[in-house]
């Protein structure tokens, strides 16, 4: 496994570098380590899928032109493979078609070799930030979804009407319930979701819906 040992503490971001050219791999790795990032290098798509650390916060620097599976092909199947890393594409020559395809496939940045250190580091930091944000957003969403999961079926129906902006009486009419029953559901709902205000309820609901 051509993986460099973490050079900084385990809590700094881990940048995965995938390039078939050992010289380029090691050069990028040296540069990123010099600014205190941890790196992990791979020579092929298969090696990456098999051996990368999926947990650590960081990003993937991906070369387009490789023997076997190309960078673009790998990029497009990353979500299916359960990889949530932001990707910085790196290519020998920036042709427009490849660039378009890269962004369509979800790459955060598209750089051409040789790449300047400031540009690369900036791109990597941006990607790491995106990873952190997406992990955070993912965490909030999961939490909200977990909370919503505690509601009963009827309570969820009532919640859906509440966030539509309807009053208790209106909800009672739509769901063919008595206003009193609606009010009871509403109370339980606020209690279970541990929110105090309608504003908080709406924020939680939207967070759960977020992708």
């Amino acid at each position: 496994m051509p993986t460099s040992p973490p050079s900084a503490d385990r809590h700094s971001p881990l940048v995965r570098i995938l390039d078939d050219d050992a010289g380029v791999r090691d050069g990028l790795s040296a540069l990123l380590r010099s600014v205190g990032l941890r790196t992990q290098v791979f020579a092929s798509a298969a090696e990456f899928i098999e051996g990368h650390d999926g947990e650590a916060i960081g990003c993937l620097i991906l070369d387009i032109r490789m023997p076997g599976e190309s960078g673009l092909q790998l990029l497009e199947r990353l979500p299916a493979a359960g990889v949530d890393l932001p990707v910085v594409m790196l290519t020998g020559h920036g042709d427009l078609a490849a660039c378009r395809r890269a962004f369509k496939g979800g790459a955060v940045e598209f750089l051409t070799k040789p790449v300047d250190d400031d540009v690369l580091i900036e791109a990597v930091q941006q990607a790491v930030r995106a990873h952190i944000t997406s992990r955070e957003r993912g965490a909030v969403t999961r939490e909200a979804q977990a909370q919503l999961a505690r509601l009963t079926e009827r309570e969820r129906e009532v919640l859906a009407q509440i966030v539509e902006g309807l009053s208790n009486k209106q909800i009672a009419r739509v769901l063919d319930l008595s206003p009193r029953t609606v009010e009871t559901h509403r109370a339980h709902l606020f209690e279970k979701l541990e929110v105090d205000s309608l504003a908080q309820l709406v924020r939680l609901y939207l967070a759960a819906l977020a992708p």
Binding site: G27, A30, R33, K113
Partner: protein
């Protein structure tokens, strides 16, 4: 290794043809041996030499013949004058004839014959009352000729021309001495010319009267040789009374031809033509080699367009690595305290990558240099890899998938690394060309090496439509191409390169129906 695509229909290839018939073109453009040129040149030179000698001989013979003819004409005219003088004497004798005794007459005649040995008879004729002639002496020989002389005798009374009549031994000449008498002389032709006056061998002549009567043909049997036109001249004798036509002839004789000079010239020409032909073939070979070199260079430069893209990509990698490494060095050193170890490591990487970039450029320079490379032991696996690195980019751009299979432990071959690379590059680009009409996902090229019967094979096989037998037979001919806009030189140069190295270039039908070009070189024994 992906399986090969099944055979796709072979398009009818329309090879472009040159103006010259292929056989002649092959003879003119390829290295023929020197001796056909030598023999052709020698035969031509001998013909010219012989013609020149014959012409010179003819001129000399003509001069000699003219001289001989003049001499003969002079001699015969002189004899005729003698006869005329005899007649004059006889005619002058006529009035006093009755007083002359037969003894005197006989002595006179005898003195004539003594002075002029060609005259063996002198006769007098008298006219009868009926107009016919009779010999003055009874029983005289030559009486039978008289009736035939009679009409001309009559006319000779008024004309200065003496009547003449040929018989077996000579010529009768007659002259009227008066209305009723005439004289006749018999001239022995075999005595007309003295021993020292005989014409040379081969020379012949005819003496004839104007009305076509042949008086003397000498010699009777004429020399003829190869029915060549004889020299010939005609002139009347310059004597008024005997203006006979003298026709002289001289056929060319083998003995008179300059055989010695001819033979000597033939030998010299053989040596000269041999040397010249050898020099010519040698010179042409050298010029051809130079042109081949120039063409090889041109075709390499031609392939440069394809190669340049690959080089650009390849060079980009070490450049990218160098940039990253050197910038890393800067950052390591900016640390407080400077991280020397990291900086040193990155600097070493940068150095390595700079060397790698240099090596790439070196290879490129070698590929485009017009200089012939160094002959050395070459590993065809390295040739295959180097060629692929030169055109890999071009093939990738054309959606061609290359499958490289290198045999392990191959012996090496002797030759020029760069030249072999050029051949492999050409074969790869040709294969890519052959795949232009093939759907993208079916464009495969196999590049592989193997050892077979002590020979190393470098093969390029494509999944294209292949070629017909006719095309296959002409594939290596210069200026033969199936590509629109193609020069038709690539494969002929490749073949030349491989043959120079003692190997050969083969065109075969691949297993999948495509073309397989094989560079076959003998392995060298390095023990």
């Amino acid at each position: 290794m992906k399986p090969f695509v099944p055979l796709s229909p072979v398009p009818s290839s329309r090879p472009s043809r040159g103006v010259l018939p292929s056989g002649l073109r092959r003879f003119l453009t390829q290295n023929a041996a020197w001796w056909p040129w030598a023999i052709a040149g020698w035969l031509l030179a001998c013909a010219l030499w012989g013609g020149w000698l014959l012409h010179g001989q003819r001129v000399a013979a003509q001069e000699d013949f003219d001289l001989q003819s003049r001499i003969l004409h002079r001699l015969l005219s002189q004899r005729a004058e003698q006869h005329e003088a005899v007649f004059a004497a006889l005619v002058a004798l006529e009035p006093s004839l009755p007083q002359i005794t037969p003894e005197v007459k006989a002595r006179f005649a005898g003195s004539i014959m003594l002075s002029y040995p060609q005259i063996d008879q002198v006769r007098r004729y008298l006219r009868n009352a009926d107009g016919s002639w009779r010999p003055a002496a009874p029983n005289g020989a030559g009486g039978e000729m008289l009736p035939r002389l009679t009409p001309t005798l009559e006319s000779s009374l008024r004309s200065p021309v003496a009547p003449a009549l040929a018989d077996a031994a000579g010529i009768w000449l007659a002259r009227a001495a008066g209305p009723d008498s005439a004289w006749a002389l018999h001239v022995r032709t075999d005595r007309l010319l003295a021993a020292g006056e005989q014409p040379p061998a081969g020379f012949s002549f005819t003496l004839a009267t104007d009305d076509g009567q042949v008086l003397w043909d000498h010699p009777a049997s004429r020399a003829h040789w190869m029915s060549l036109t004889p020299l010939q001249a005609e002139k009347h004798l310059s004597v008024r009374s005997q203006p006979y036509l003298l026709i002289t002839r001289q056929p060319p004789l083998p003995a008179q031809l300059p055989w010695g000079r001819f033979a000597w010239g033939v030998l010299v020409l053989l040596a000269v033509c041999g040397a010249a032909a050898w020099a010519f073939v040698e010179y042409r070979r050298r010029v051809l080699t130079q042109r081949q070199l120039a063409l090889a260079h041109a075709s390499r430069v031609n392939a440069m367009g394809e190669v340049a893209a690959g080089i650009a990509h390849e060079l980009n990698q070490p450049l990218a690595a160098i940039l990253s490494n050197t910038q890393a060095v800067g950052r390591w050193l900016d640390d407080d305290p400077p991280a020397i170890d990291g900086a040193r490591e990155a600097a070493q990487s940068a150095v390595q990558q700079a060397r790698r970039a240099g090596a790439i450029l070196h290879r490129l320079r070698g590929f485009i240099s017009p200089q012939p490379g160094r002959v050395e032991a070459v590993d065809l696996n390295r040739v295959a890899s180097a060629a692929l690195s030169l055109v890999g980019e071009a093939l990738q751009r054309r959606q061609v998938q290359v499958h490289l299979q290198l045999a392990d432990g191959l012996p090496r071959v002797r030759g020029e690394q760069v030249a072999f690379e050029q051949v492999a590059v050409n074969l790869l680009l040709n294969a890519a060309d052959a795949l232009d009409g093939v759907p993208q996902e079916q464009r495969h090229v196999r590049l592989y090496t193997l050892l077979q019967n002590g020979q190393i094979l470098l093969c390029v096989e494509d999944s294209g439509p292949g070629f017909s037998e006719e095309v296959r037979g002409r594939l290596f001919e210069p200026f033969f191409t199936t590509k629109p806009g193609g020069m038709g030189l690539g494969l002929s140069i490749c073949e030349h390169i491989v043959q120079q190295a003692g190997g050969d270039l083969l065109a075969e039908h691949g297993e999948g129906g495509g073309a397989r070009l094989v560079m076959r070189l003998p392995a060298i024994n390095e023990d």
